[in-house]
Symmetry: C2
Subunit: 219 residues, 2 copies
């Protein structure tokens, strides 16, 4: 059996995106170098962890001085696939969809929406933030004529799986799903669920826990 190149652990990837945002700010403020200790402090991580994380992207620091800000920023950006521009299409131009189209993804993540697709005739054939919104039925044709790296799902739960199927059927290999439902895809496609509920669940559960700590403190 063929051994696959090992996948980077998800927790590390998530932290890398945090370092990246921070480093981008430092870079703009012309900061030259930074130590793992300082980075850790800003994000409330442990210094060792920062070093281990950065190591994964192939970076080496210098004892005494730390890491070169510009170097680290670029290395993480490349590692996360944010240095090559990728093209995305959106399905579902409702409230959330419009907000996504209006967001400046390109600057920081190299992501560019080239089109949106809507099942409701009323919302099709307009421009949002200069991005054309087409009728969904036009997608197969569009997909043949353009390089589409990522399909973003922002339709209601009921329609999410259908959209995912259409994306896969048209050769799209990356799916960013904002609908509250888990979508299934055949092997080969990559799906990432950006579920608000997940993050809300952590917040509300922590609040329950902290309430319990106050009311029934353990001896």
């Amino acid at each position: 059996m063929k051994k696959m190149a090992s996948k980077a652990p998800a927790p590390v990837i998530r932290r890398l995106s945090n370092y990246h945002h921070l480093l981008l700010g430092l870079k703009h403020r012309q900061v030259q170098s930074i130590s793992s200790t300082t980075l850790a402090e800003m994000l409330e991580y442990k210094p060792v962890q920062v070093r281990k994380d950065l190591q994964l992207t192939g970076l080496v620091g210098k004892p005494r001085t730390g890491f070169q800000v510009a170097e680290v920023e670029e290395s993480i950006r490349r590692f996360l696939g944010w240095s090559l521009d990728s093209q995305a299409v959106l399905f579902g131009a409702g409230n959330l969809g419009s907000a996504l189209l209006n967001h400046p993804w390109r600057e920081e993540y190299g992501l560019r929406f080239i089109a949106a697709f809507e099942s409701s005739e009323a919302r099709a054939n307009i421009l949002i933030n200069n991005i054309p919104v087409f009728a969904s039925s036009y997608f197969p044709t569009f997909a043949k004529e353009h390089q589409v790296d990522i399909g973003v799902i922002a339709v209601p739960a009921e329609a999410a799986q259908d959209v995912a199927d259409v994306l896969v059927a048209n050769g799209i290999r990356g799916i960013w799903n904002f609908s509250p439902t888990h979508v299934k895809t055949p092997l080969g496609a990559t799906v990432e669920d950006a579920l608000f509920a997940r993050s809300l669940a952590i917040l509300t559960r922590r609040l329950v826990e902290s309430r319990n700590d106050v009311e029934h403190p353990e001896p």
Copy 2:
């Protein structure tokens, strides 16, 4: 030293929110019971994991028949703090903020936006989805007169920390942060970062990895 009630692991909480959404659908379709095997299949988890997860909320199943859908749904909802209605305020009524105000959080998560706050005069003193948008300066007064459980941050990165400070200063203990910056708070407040970048990072990294697998397969 006082021993704190142990926190539920974040991965479990995240999965619980997935079960919950699924179970809500089953409940509406009048499904009576479900086995860990079936649940696992629908979400692409392992059956043992499902049982372990559900156990944490205090649930017991029946051999042969599995779990009662309504029971599980309710138990998870209580565990996640979604059964008690909680009141939220939003800071930043831009694109994302408006989308958040228009979302039906209440049905599924028991979360209700009671007001929004805006620093830009132009966007203040209007209603969005029937929720009043006030000038930010009014918040301290508002907070004294209303029960505010959660503060949601949807302002630009530069303003995020200031908003977090204002929330904490006015006694808000739960913060849901949609700005791309990590915000710091004193102990006692709970912050959850709903960073789009995190989820995008996982997607784009996986795409890089799958590309590498194809191009440089290991023997």
